[in-house]
Structure formats: structure tokens, C-alpha cells
């Protein structure tokens, strides 16, 4: 049975399956949410499936189905990403719907790798803790294989993610990282690039470390609590600099940080906790996506009516009074204020 963990408000459905996992049966997870229909609600859930479990929903969906695929490949990992088209369109990116914006983050310590996509080398010499610039990729299905440097494409991949669906219009980050238990894996996160209110910034925490559940604290206040690998939590906050640290869930045991983060207005800042607690190499990685800001909705630059152009004479008389007779002017202003005030 699926482990049944659901995380509202996380766009994209993500399924991680190891080894000889088989996928069969009807699609009970998707169907109540509009599978085969508009799928509007489809992007709001995230299911994590334990190793070796038999899924009770259908992973073998049609290749023409945009919702996703699930494979159980020969070696380590099958990974299926699905994101409904409606959600993709709501992300508001400028990309055409047949393209997607994809970044790749390497979060497996101590292993420089070559990343292959569909059998072609995509990112040679990719070092831990590095992030690619956003790539514009044709939407579609990608088989991602990650080899120790120089061992591809004919050797055994360290990480393999087959049938990664890159939906049109999406902004996503593929993260190679360790599972909670310390095994190399890969997760696709769909980045929320919806417009921010003027003055706001978006901050997202993603747990991709070989570590138990954590709380992310902002200015020493637990903000994202009980975050587990490979999940995320996000909030829109007032722009500014915050001090963030990571503690073991429910404790004051700091495992990472504190780090000062500049949450720039109109920018999404995504913070990854990666590495391994056991190997004492936990670290933070930061990805930013800018250009999400909105402008103020006006400039309310006057309130008393003293400069009313429809009574120009009054304006200049008053201005003169202000200049020459400060005390008198104060009285006048008060009188004008009483009569000319708006709500």
C-alpha cells in the first residue's frame, strides 16, 4: 500500500520507488482528484512510496497522458513527476507551453558526477553543492542517469531516474541528493513562480539531506516544522534579511546555521538542507528565482486638498501665508484641514 503521506499546497505529484517495486492496479490516488478530467486539483498532493511496496494505483499510464509515469528500472530508482497542465499554466512563466525551465542541483556529498539525459551527456563534471543555470528544455519525458565522473554512459549509474516528466510551462528543479537513509536518489521539485505581492518575498525550505525530520527556524522562531526528506514547505513573507537555522524537529539542537538570508523583494529563495547528518557534512544550498514581483498599486501622494488645482487662488494665497506667517499659516492649515480632509 502506498504510505499515504499527503502534503497540501505542494504543486506536483512526486513518487519515489526503489528496486523491484511494481506498479499496478487502478489509479485510486489520482481518480478522485480529477484524473482523466481537468486535473485541477491534481497538483496539490505529493505521495511518497516506500521501497519495495506494491502500489495500489496505476503507474503505467498512457504515454500521451500528461499526468505522469512510473517505472521500476533495473537498478535504483524510478521517479515519476507529474504536474497538471492547469497548474503549469498557472505558474505564469513566459515559457511557451511546450517548453519548461529546469535547474539541476547536485546535493550528494563527495561525488563529482556526469549527468546524462536520454543517453546524452548534459552536465559533465558536476560538483556537489552546485546548481545549474535555468535550462529551457522541451517538455516531455527524460531518462536521467547520473554517473560518477567519467564512468558513463556504459557503466552503472549512481542515480537513475527514468521517465522524468518535464511538463510544459513548468519551472522545476531536479535535485540529486541523499534519501533520509543515506542512499543517492533524485527528486523533482516544481518551483512556485506565481506573482508575489509588492513588498513580499517567497521562502521555501527543502529537506534533501540524510537526516531525520527537522524544524526550520527563522529568527529563532520555528517556522517550518517537522519537515522530512524529500519534502518542502514555503511561505510568502515581507522582504528583508532573516537569520535561518535548522534544528532537529521539536528540539533546540541546531544542525545547520544560523545563516543570514537576504529575501529580496519579488524573489523566491529556495533553501536546501543537503548532505548527511551521520557524516557531519550537512550544508545549505540556495537557489533564487527573481522577477516574481508586482508593483505597488498606486501613489497616494496627498491628503489635505491644499494643492487643489480647482482653487488655484486659494492655493497660492495659502502658500504665501505659509512662507511669510508661519503661525498664521498653522491656523489656516488647520482650518483647511478641517474642511478639506478626506476620509
Amino acid at each position: 500500500m502506498r504510505s499515504g503521506r499527503y502534503f497540501p499546497a505542494i504543486p506536483g505529484i512526486q513518487v519515489t520507488i526503489d528496486d523491484d517495486t511494481t506498479c499496478r492496479g487502478r489509479n485510486e490516488l489520482f481518480e478522485p482528484l480529477g484524473y482523466g478530467g481537468t486535473g485541477r486539483e491534481l497538483g496539490r498532493h505529493n505521495a511518497h512510496v516506500d521501497v519495495g511496496k506494491v502500489l495500489d494505483w496505476d503507474c503505467k499510464v498512457s504515454p500521451i497522458d500528461v499526468w505522469g509515469k512510473c517505472y521500476a528500472p533495473k537498478r535504483m530508482i524510478a521517479l515519476a513527476l507529474t504536474m497538471p497542465l492547469a497548474m503549469a499554466m498557472a505558474t505564469g512563466t513566459a515559457s511557451a507551453q511546450d517548453e519548461a525551465t529546469v535547474s539541476v542541483l547536485h546535493g550528494v556529498p563527495g561525488l563529482t558526477v556526469d549527468v546524462f539525459a536520454n543517453g546524452e551527456e548534459l552536465i559533465p563534471g558536476f560538483e556537489p553543492g552546485t546548481l545549474t543555470d535555468p535550462l529551457t528544455l522541451p517538455a516531455g519525458s527524460y531518462d536521467i542517469e547520473i554517473f560518477a565522473e567519467g564512468e558513463g554512459p556504459d557503466g552503472d549509474p549512481a542515480i537513475e531516474a527514468a521517465g522524468v516528466e518535464v511538463p510544459g510551462g513548468a519551472n522545476a528543479t531536479i535535485v540529486a541528493h541523499l534519501s533520509e537513509g543515506g542512499d543517492p536518489t533524485a527528486t523533482v521539485f516544481v518551483n512556485d513562480v506565481s506573482e508575489l505581492a509588492a513588498g513580499d518575498a517567497r521562502v521555501t525550505a527543502r529537506h534533501v539531506a540524510a537526516a531525520p525530520a527537522v524544524d526550520v527556524r527563522v529568527n529563532e522562531t520555528p517556522t517550518f516544522e517537522g519537515l522530512t526528506n524529500p519534502n518542502e514547505a514555503a511561505a510568502d513573507v515581507a522582504a528583508g534579511t532573516i537569520s535561518a537555522d535548522v534544528v532537529l524537529a521539536g528540539s533546540d539542537d541546531v544542525v545547520l546555521g544560523p545563516a543570514d538570508l537576504n529575501l529580496a523583494e519579488g524573489t523566491s529563495t529556495i533553501v536546501y538542507a543537503w548532505g548527511s547528518a551521520e557524516d557531519e557534512n550537512l550544508d545549505l544550498a540556495v537557489q533564487t528565482i527573481d522577477g516574481l514581483g508586482a508593483e505597488p498599486n498606486g501613489v497616494p501622494a496627498g491628503e489635505a486638498g491644499l494643492a487643489d488645482s480647482s482653487s488655484t487662488a486659494g492655493l497660492w494665497i495659502l502658500a504665501l501665508a505659509v512662507a511669510l506667517f508661519a503661525a498664521t499659516a498653522a491656523v489656516l492649515v488647520r482650518r483647511r484641514t478641517t474642511t478639506g480632509a478626506r476620509h
Binding site: 546524452e120 535550462l135 529551457t136 519579488g266
Partner: protein
Amino acid sequence: MVLAGCGGETQPGAELPAPSPDTANPQSPRPVATVEPELAGLEVPRSRATPAPAEPPDAPVSVEVSAINISAEVVPVGIADDGQMELPPHPDVIGWYRFGPTAGNGAGSVVLAGHVDSRKYGLGQFVRLHESQVGDEVLVRTESGRDLRYTIVDVRSLPKAELPLADVFSREGRERLLLITCGGEFDRQQGYADNIVVTAVPA
């Protein structure tokens, strides 16, 4: 266009001077690599995913338009609770929209706005803004002591509803300075009908 008064002479739907296409703007989004479907022969740019240090901008601290006797302190402002640009309560103090570009940054729209008047303090410095003329010089001093000179290229009055906010607060294109206050007819319910908008470019 130079307006003699605070309003009533607006061209409906008038637009501010269009920002020039930008060729060397460090604030522009980084170009994204395009991967051909075959994914062949591609060098993907990448960088260390380390937290970016917060670099405080060199904020403007004063603005002068000597031709119309404006000399005012400038303070950083953000967003008011109603989603409009926040403004200093005292009309002799001008607000710089701190989420937009700063003066001397080289790109985008530097917005300085002030109340034309206040119930508490009376008329403000920007009451004379509409008297400015194309060609007048604007001097902006920044926190680090830089003096930046701009030349006014446009003076106009726009009904508030027609203020092209996306242009006014644009972070792209070549640098320009916008001085904004209120003007036009005053209504007790709605406040002033217009925004006075003065556009200047680096001299």
C-alpha cells in the same frame, strides 16, 4: 510637455516615455540556455549554490530641483498596508521606493514620491513639482556621497487610475528617475484626482 497646472490637461491614456531596450543591464534575468531536443554538445553554466550576501543598495538621501527651489530629504519606503507605495508622513520628506532600483544603479526606474500636502504639516516640497520644465536639472545625493545629475525629459499630470504602474515601477530598461506627487482637483472622498509625474534621465 509642460503643464501649467495640477491637472485637467492630461492626455487620456498617455504613456510615460518608453524605457529604452536594455543591453547591459546587470539586473536582467540571466539568459537561459536552450537545449536542443537531442541534448547534444551542451555546456551548462552552473555555480556554487551558496547564499548570496545581502548588499545594501546605495540609497538616495536627498533630491534637489534647484530651478523650482525643491531641496528635500529622501528616506527609503516600501509598501503601505493598502498595497500602495508607502510615503513619509511629512510632505517635506520624499520617499524612495526601496524595492525598486536605486539612483546610479544604471537600470530601471528610480521612484521618488512625496505627499503634495498633509493635514498635519500643510504643503510639501513637491507642491512645486508641476512647475518643473523639460531640461531642468535634478540632483540626487546617495548615502555613499555620490552626486547624481539627471535632466528632466517629461512633465505630466495623469489621472491616478491611468498611472502606468508597471512602467513607473519597472526594474528594466535604462535608468530613469521619476518624481511623483499628487495634483489635479481635490475631492474629499477620493483625494487628488491626478499624479504629477516628472521623468528625468541621467545627465
